[in-house]
Structure formats: structure tokens, C-alpha cells
């Protein structure tokens, strides 16, 4: 990879144009996220990892809430010595972010002293604090579950009146909405309470391994640290359990690949005691383990298994077939644990000195200590809580749509949360005044304008980065969370000058070489297209996709690093995987023959 000339830089933010005709949709995003001239002097990169598609106006709340919490943890809570928080800007529905590095040595020293009183306390008391975290998170989830469904009765219920509640139902719309929003912002603080410290401890071990073993692959280090019984495996484990139960209960014949989830459930309801018993088992699994969404939790339309049973049900027939052919389907926990231990000891033995081995032991001990949080938090934050959040907003969408504000429930996501509060207050006023709400005349046009803008933006390629190329990227938060390095930037600059090869490169996530037809799967609705022997090519995968890994022979994704859940699951299934290619879904055509070399991170388009 050649180093680009010093003069090379990415386009300046001021040179980026809002796609003509979408100016009003662009203006919907909060003023603090609009690029200004002053932003030209800074380096920004497109956060395609978390926001790979143009974002609906409402979904931008995730950027707001997450960066507020991330920044607070880094800047004020743990006082990371060399970095503050992340600024974000939005253009054409794309989220660009820029770090605030601390470079003054005196300031770094001052922050280091703070850091060691704060972060070190967390490391030293990790288990206790993590148990406390779990309690806090469960309380937050229960509070969100307890929020009432937003409703407006014609008359205030008599019981409220007789109880002298003194506050009418319209007020509870605002109350519920604000609590919903407050809970989401709070959840992101929980999310980042440990995260950077966890990644930091992991990266400490990672960096040591890279130095001691310059040719070790990222995935091998990941395998040494990865948890065996992490929450991310649970949803798939539950599916396997349900497959076993279907066979044990003798209702397995009801699971036909051509039937929809609803049809299968209807058939089971008519299958007497056994069918009902299986449906009861399903309920046990669903709460909470089907609260996992088919994306990474950042888009309202990445629905949870619980809300769309087509994904889990699509996988059941294959699991049932395997149970009937005598497979246990149980994850071999003991074997996996032994394999991990073998890796750790194998590499340890290869170190040159006893001092190295002692340092290695200290670092991996800390990495193992922090990693359950790094792996486990996503289920609670990005999946469970986020599903509750978007579904609550959906309830407001249904209420407003019924009042004529929107053509459909999902339209609510084309309003920012500020606008949604206005619409809710509009409805509250109208209900109280007995007049008609203004929204029905106001929002439908805006919604259709924004829907059109999103389509427009999706069709426009956006630069991977903006502004001057920094000499080095030594902001640990950027490196840890986004894997952005100077090498990436060079690759992006090089790609800009014309990509002509038949190779698509990404992170080597799970080794092995395999050839097969590419199946481009852009949403969960398309997974039924996957045939045995196909190579899955997708934008992002996550643990909910795990069951389809039994059908495919390799996986390629646009987004994700070697510690991404897709990578973890691929390794678990022993499938070659290349993740974080940036553009595999646009460069590879459906049905094309490709070769995936998961050990080197290279996908070759064969024809």
C-alpha cells in the first residue's frame, strides 16, 4: 500500500453538496449537526459502521444520545488522557464523526492522574460494578416496559376522576414520550459506562500479541479472549432448544419451509396439547431472548425477532432436520473452553522470556475480566432496550396515524424527536380544546418529502472521509470503536483513484477458503433466498443471523471488524468470513461466483 502524497486530502466538508431537491429534508436535522465552514479544518469520517444507510430523521436520536454518553464517559467520567468525545455532523442522511484528541503534554498528564483514580477503580472493582450495572440496566428495562400505551379516550376514565388524579390523559402522552426519550438517553450512558475501558484492556492484550507475534491474525487474538457463554449466543441457543423440543413433542412435521411463521403457529394451535406445549416453550424463549433485532439496533426498521418471527422460524426446519439426523445441536461448551485454553497456552509457550510470559498473564487476565461486558452489553442496550424504545415510538406513530397525522404508523420515524414532541403537543391541545389537530394538514407532505429524500440519498455515494488527512490516528476511542488507522485512510485515498481489481478487501474475520455463488441479502426478508452452498453477502450481520450460518458456506459483509458479532459467529461455525469490506454488496452481483479467503480478508470475484 503506497503512502499518499502529503498534499492528498479528502474533500472538504464545505465542498459536499446537499443533494438538490432534498434541502428541506436536510434542514430537519438539528442545527448542531449541520456542517459549517469552521469544520473544514478538521478531519471527519463517515461512520458507516454504525450508520451504513441514510438515517431517518427520528433515528438520528441514536447519534445524539450515544455521542452525548460516549463523550461524557471519556471526557468527564473516566478522563481518558488523550481523547475527549466525538462530534457528529449529518449531511444527506449520513453521519460523519470527528474525534477531539488531547495533545498538550501537560493536559495529558493532568488527565492521566484523574484517569488512574477513576478508570483504575473500575478495573479493580469490575465484577462488583458490572453486577450493579446489570441491576441498573434491568431496572431501566422494567421501567420502559411499564410505560403505558399512549391513548386518548373520549372522556377521562371515571376511575381517574373519582380518584381525584387531577391530571388528564393528554398530559400522559407527553409524560410517556419524555420518559421514553429520557430512558433512551440514559441507556446510552449505561452502554458507555464500561465500554471504552473494556476495549482498552482488550486492546492492551491485542497490541502485546501483535508485537510479540507480528503475523498473528486479529481473529486468533479475538478467539483467545472471546467469552464462551456470552449472551450473544443465547438467541441461537434458544432456537436450537426449540428445534429439539419440537422433535421431542412430536410436532416437528408442522415446520415446513414453505409455511410462514403465522401459518406454523396456527397449525400448532390446532395440534392439541403438544402444539400448545411447544408454543409455551416459544414464549419462554421469546422473553427475553427474541428481543434481538436483525441489525445492530440503530435503525427503527431493524425489527426484533419478537416483532417479526420470520427470521427465527425460517431457521427452525433446518435445525429440526439436524436434530432428527441425530445431532445434539448443543454448543460444545467444554470443548470450546478447552480450545480457547489450548490457544492461550500455545501462544504463551512461544514467548521468548519469562518476563514476557508474566506480562502476558497479567494482560490476558484483565482482558478476560472485562470481556463479558464488551460482549454482553449489546444484547441489553442495542437490542432489548432499543426494541422497546422504537416500539414505544411506533405506538405514538399508530396513535398519530389514526388521527390523520400520517399515512401509516412507520411515518412517525420521519420526524425528529423534537418534531414528534410538537406533533404530540398538537394532539394534546386538539384533544383538550375539542378542535381539530393541525398535524394532518402539516405532516403528510413533509413525510413524503423526507421519504423521497432518503431514496435520493441512498443512491448517492458519500466520501468515506472529509478534510485534511491526519499524520497519525492515535485517538484510542477512534481506533478502538471504529478501527480507523492511517492504513485505512491510505486505502480509502487509493480506492478513490480508481478501483479496478476483481478483489474486495476487508478484515480477515474467520479463516478458510471457499468458492461459491454470491447471494446478496439486503434485509432479513430476503434470507429465504439463501440455498445450501451459497455465500452470504450482506451489509451487516449480527447474532440473529447465526442460524442461517448453517446453510451458507461463507459470509462477506460491508460493515464490521474482526471482533464484530458476525466474525464471532462465523468462527463459531467454522465458516470463512471477510467483514468490513465497505462495499461488497455493491461491487458483487447476485449469483456471481466468488472466492472468500477468510484468513487473508480477500474476496475474489471469479465471474
Amino acid at each position: 500500500m503506497s503512502t499518499p502524497a502529503a498534499s492528498q486530502r479528502f474533500p472538504l466538508p464545505s465542498s459536499l453538496r446537499v443533494v438538490p431537491g432534498t434541502e428541506r429534508a436536510q434542514a430537519a436535522y438539528s442545527y448542531l449537526t449541520q456542517f459549517t465552514e469552521a469544520d473544514d479544518s478538521r478531519f471527519w469520517f463517515y461512520n458507516s459502521m454504525h450508520f451504513p444507510e441514510p438515517m431517518c430523521a427520528f433515528d438520528m436520536v441514536t447519534a445524539e444520545a450515544a455521542y452525548c454518553a460516549l463523550g461524557a464517559a471519556n471526557t468527564r467520567v473516566h478522563s481518558l488522557p488523550t481523547t475527549l468525545g466525538i462530534d457528529h455532523r449529518i449531511i444527506n442522511g449520513r453521519v460523519y464523526i470527528g474525534g477531539n484528541a488531547v495533545t498538550d503534554p501537560a493536559e495529558i498528564a493532568r488527565r492521566t492522574a484523574e484517569f488512574q483514580q477513576r478508570a483504575f477503580y473500575y478495573y479493580a472493582n469490575w465484577e462488583k460494578l458490572q453486577a450493579q450495572w446489570h441491576e441498573k440496566m434491568m431496572t431501566l428495562i422494567r421501567d420502559a416496559q411499564a410505560l403505558p400505551k399512549p391513548e386518548l379516550p373520549e372522556f377521562e376514565p371515571l376511575a381517574n376522576v373519582h380518584a381525584g388524579r387531577g391530571v388528564a390523559s393528554n398530559h400522559y402522552l407527553l409524560d410517556t414520550f419524555q420518559k421514553t426519550l429520557e430512558g433512551y438517553f440514559r441507556m446510552w450512558h449505561h452502554h458507555f459506562e464500561f465500554l471504552l475501558l473494556g476495549y482498552g484492556a482488550y486492546l492492551t492484550f491485542f497490541a502485546f500479541c501483535k508485537k510479540a507475534f507480528p503475523e498473528i491474525t486479529d481473529q486468533t487474538i479475538a478467539r483467545m479472549v472471546a467469552g464462551i457463554e456470552a449472551e450473544i449466543f443465547r438467541p441461537d441457543d434458544e432456537l436450537r432448544r426449540l428445534a429439539r423440543r419440537a422433535v421431542e413433542l412430536g410436532v416437528d412435521a408442522k415446520f415446513q419451509t414453505r409455511l410462514s411463521a403465522e401459518e406454523i403457529i396456527a397449525a400448532l394451535q390446532q395440534s392439541g396439547v403438544a402444539g400448545q406445549a411447544w408454543l409455551d416453550e416459544l414464549e419462554t424463549s421469546r422473553n427475553p431472548w427474541f428481543n434481538i433485532n436483525v441489525g445492530d439496533g440503530f435503525y427503527h426498521y431493524h425489527r426484533a425477532w419478537n416483532d417479526d418471527l420470520s427470521m427465527p422460524f425460517a431457521c427452525l426446519p433446518e435445525y429440526i432436520k439436524r436434530v432428527k439426523s441425530g445431532e445434539s445441536l448443543e454448543r460444545p461448551i467444554e470443548r470450546l473452553r478447552a480450545e480457547r485454553q489450548e490457544l492461550i497456552e500455545g501462544y504463551r509457550e512461544l514467548l521468548n522470556t519469562d518476563e514476557d510470559r508474566a506480562a502476558y498473564d497479567q494482560m490476558i487476565t484483565l482482558a478476560h475480566r472485562v470481556f463479558p461486558y464488551v460482549e454482553g452489553h449489546k444484547f441489553y442496550c442495542e437490542h432489548w432496550y432499543t426494541n422497546l424504545f422504537f416500539n414505544k415510538i411506533r405506538e405514538f406513530g399508530a396513535l398519530l396515524a389514526a388521527q390523520g397525522f400520517f399515512p401509516d404508523t412507520e411515518a412517525v420515524f420521519h420526524l425528529t424527536h423534537y418534531e414528534l414532541e410538537m406533533a404530540i403537543i398538537d394532539l394534546m391541545s386538539a384533544w383538550s380544546n375539542g378542535s381539530a389537530p393541525r398535524g394532518p394538514a402539516y405532516w403528510p407532505g413533509i413525510v413524503s418529502e423526507r421519504r423521497a429524500a432518503l431514496k435520493e440519498w441512498a443512491a448517492h455515494v458519500t466520501p468515506p472521509a472529509l478534510g485534511p488527512v491526519p499524520d497519525v490516528i492515535d485517538d484510542p476511542a477512534i481506533v478502538m470503536l471504529w478501527g480507523i488507522t492511517r492504513e485505512n485512510l491510505n486505502a480509502w485515498l487509493a480506492a478513490d483513484s480508481g478501483a479496478d481489481s476483481n478483489e474486495v478487501r476487508g478484515f480477515a474475520a474467520s479463516s478458510g477458503v471457499v468458492e461459491g455463488p454470491a447471494r446478496i441479502v439486503k434485509s432479513v426478508k430476503e434470507i429465504s433466498r439463501l440455498q445450501a452452498g451459497d455465500i452470504l453477502v450482506c451489509q451487516i450481520t449480527n447474532p440473529t443471523w447465526a442460524p442461517i450460518f448453517q446453510t451458507i458456506v461463507a459470509a462477506v459483509s460491508d460493515i464490521g471488524g474482526s471482533m464484530s458479532h458476525a466474525a464471532i459467529v462465523a468462527r463459531e461455525y467454522g465458516l470463512p468470513a471477510v467483514v468490513g469490506t465497505g462495499n461488497a454488496t455493491s461491487r458483487i452481483k447476485d449469483g456471481q461466483r466468488i472466492r472468500v479467503d477468510g484468513g487473508r480478508g480477500v474476496v475474489t470475484i471469479l465471474g
Binding site: 495529558i108 518476563e355 508474566a358 497479567q362 492515535d474 479463516s511
Partner: protein
């Protein structure tokens, strides 16, 4: 032939016998002892060489005439070396040496030899000294087909001690000639389908967690001699993951010549761009590499061959890797009084 000063079977020797069987012989014995397959054979020990030289010295001085050389007069050295080598090549083996060599050869190959060619390889006693590598300065003769030729090649190995390079090397370092001796390995030839070398670390980065394998069609001499660009693989030592696979265009291969010795022939078109090892074979090599490295407790530089008939992998040589091993000194990291301080390497910025 236990405890004979003249010959010894691989099974009866190990590294500790290097003063008498040389580095290569000791290593082959040690490998066999560690349960690694090597082509069967025996060593013509330094005792045989000593008896042979003693007989020569009785006729006219040899070692003192070498020691009399200055280190820098190349033409004088060359002339003296020619003379010494000619004497060695012409001198018959002492009877006791010839008898033992004959009986060991017969036991290995059958009395007639012929059907069972051998490799005759020099095995220098100083070869494994990390600071004075003689590697490559001695000779190997492949596909030797009868006893007479074997005897001749043993003498040639001995004579190689008096090559200009070897002698110059010794004279520059002032090594005493009395201590110079040569053992010779005689072992069954492997008709290699594929052969090559492997390092139990990366030659590029010194990384000990990988095994680097290079191989090509036919006998390993084409790879060792640099006459072909071998296929190359890098395997993770612990996991077996293959991170590099480079299949080269392998134009020629070394194969046995009809009348003994080897010859270079063209590789068939369809095999030129075909990988010369299967993944299973690569994994088998990795297992062997780990076993050998464990046995010796340090990184190794290994020559191997895959038998054309049986597909068995045999080791022809293993010696300590010296280039990177000499560089190793400072630990990558030291244990910290407070283990948490390690995280400052990530959070603390450039320090």
C-alpha cells in the same frame, strides 16, 4: 555395531554424539529418537575420518601443512587445498573402516545396493555452532547407487573439509586443524514427489507463532539450491490457519538420473501452477514442525520430503534457526507491579 568408533546407526545416536557424528548425523539420530520419521541410515563417524587421516599423515604431513598457510594468500591456499583434496580422493580406506562401512551399507541396502540408492551427506562437527555456521560449505551427494560410489562420496565429503572456503574460514579464525573432523551420513534416498524446507518462525518478522513452508516438485535440492521459485505457505503454528498461499510457477525439478546422481528436468505443464502440497500435508508438516521445535526447545530450520510412493513425510535435516534467534534479547513487555498500568500503553498516548 554399538560403540564402534567407525559407524553408528541413527537409532543409537543423538545430539550429544555430535563430536563424533557431526551436526547432521546427531540431528537425524535425535529426530528419530523424538519419534520423527527420517530416511533410515547410519553415520560414518569422525573416528573413521581420524583413522583415514592418520594413514595419510603417515605417508606425508597433511594438517601441519594446512596450519602453515596464512589466511590471506588465496592462490597459495587454493593450490594447497587442491593438493590435499587430491590426496584424500586417491587414498584407499583403511581396512577396518572399509569393512564396517561395507557391512553397514549392506544392512541398509542389501549386498548388491543398486535397487536402493543412498544419499551421502557431510556432517561437520562444528556445523551447529551458532557463531560459526558451516552450513552450505559441505557437500551432499544424492542418488548414489552402489558401494564403490558410496565409498568414493564419503571420501569426497571428507575432502570438502579442504575446500578453499572452508580452509580460509578456519585459517582466518585460527582454528586448530587437530580439532577439525568430518562425519558422513549415509541414508536411504527418498524419491521425493515434493520436497522443501520449513522454518518454525517467520523469516520476515521472526514471529515464532508461524511456520513458513517452501516446497517444490521433486527433490529438495532444487529448492535449497535456489533453482526454482518454490510454493510458499505461512501457517499459524498453534491454529493451523493458513495466512499466505503463494503458488509459484515451478519450471524445473530435480529427479534421479538414470545412471545415478540427479538431473534437472522440466515440470509437466499442468503441474507448474499447481500447489505441490495438499492442505492435509501442510497440516502434517506443521505438526512435525511443532514436535521438532518442542523437542529442541528452540526454533528450527528443517528440510523435508514427501515420498513419491507412500506420500509419507520424512525429515532430512533440522538445525537451529540462527538469524532471528541471535537478535532476541529484550522482552516485548515486562510484568507491572500494578497490572492495570499495562492499559496506559493504549490510553496514555505516545510515551
Amino acid at each position: 555395531m554399538a560403540a564402534s568408533p567407525v559407524t553408528a546407526w541413527f537409532a543409537d545416536i543423538g545430539l550429544e554424539d555430535r563430536p563424533h557424528v557431526g551436526g547432521k548425523g546427531g540431528s537425524l539420530g535425535e529426530l528419530q529418537r523424538a519419534g520423527i520419521a527420517v530416511p533410515p541410515g547410519f553415520v560414518v563417524k569422525t573416528g573413521a575420518f581420524e583413522r583415514f587421516i592418520a594413514a595419510l599423515e603417515r605417508k606425508a604431513p597433511l594438517r601441519s601443512r594446512i596450519e602453515a598457510l596464512g589466511g590471506d594468500d588465496l592462490s597459495a591456499t587454493a593450490a594447497r587445498c587442491d593438493e590435499m583434496r587430491a590426496r584424500i580422493e586417491a587414498e584407499p580406506l583403511p581396512a577396518e573402516v572399509l569393512d564396517e562401512l561395507t557391512s553397514a551399507y549392506s544392512a541398509l541396502c542389501g549386498l548388491s545396493g543398486g535397487q536402493s540408492p543412498v544419499a551421502v551427506r557431510s556432517s561437520a562437527t562444528t556445523e551447529d555452532a551458532a557463531d560459526a555456521s558451516f552450513a552450505g560449505l559441505q557437500d551432499t551427494y544424492l542418488w548414489v547407487t552402489d558401494l564403490n560410489q558410496t565409498v568414493q562420496r564419503v571420501r569426497s565429503c571428507w575432502a570438502s573439509l579442504y575446500s578453499v572456503e572452508s580452509v580460509t574460514y578456519r585459517r582466518r579464525r585460527g582454528l586448530p586443524e587437530q580439532a577439525v573432523a568430518m562425519a558422513v551420513v549415509v541414508q536411504k534416498m527418498v524419491d521425493a514427489r515434493t520436497a522443501g524446507v520449513m522454518f518454525t518462525r517467520s523469516p520476515l518478522t521472526g514471529d515464532r507463532s508461524v511456520v513458513t513452508v517452501e516446497g517444490s516438485w521433486g527433490l529438495g535440492s532444487a529448492v535449497v539450491g535456489g533453482e526454482v521459485t518454490p510454493d510458499r505457505w505461512v501457517l499459524a503454528k498453534i491454529t493451523g490457519d493458513i495466512s499466505v498461499r503463494t503458488v509459484s510457477e515451478k519450471v524445473i525439478q530435480h529427479v534421479p538420473a538414470p545412471g545415478g546422481g540427479t538431473q534437472s528436468v522440466a515440470v509437466a505443464d499442468e503441474l507448474r501452477r499447481t500447489a505441490c502440497l495438499s492442505d492435509e500435508e501442510l497440516q502434517a508438516l506443521r505438526t512435525i514442525a511443532r514436535k521438532v521445535e518442542r523437542h529442541y526447545g528452540r526454533p528450527q530450520d528443517i528440510e523435508w520430503a514427501v515420498d513419491r510412493q507412500t506420500n509419507e513425510i520424512l525429515l532430512l535435516q533440522s538445525r537451529p534457526e540462527t538469524v532471528w534467534s541471535a537478535k532476541e534479547s529484550a522482552p516485548v513487555a515486562r510484568p507491572a507491579a500494578d497490572p492495570l498500568l499495562h492499559v496506559m500503553s493504549i490510553f496514555g498516548g505516545k510515551q
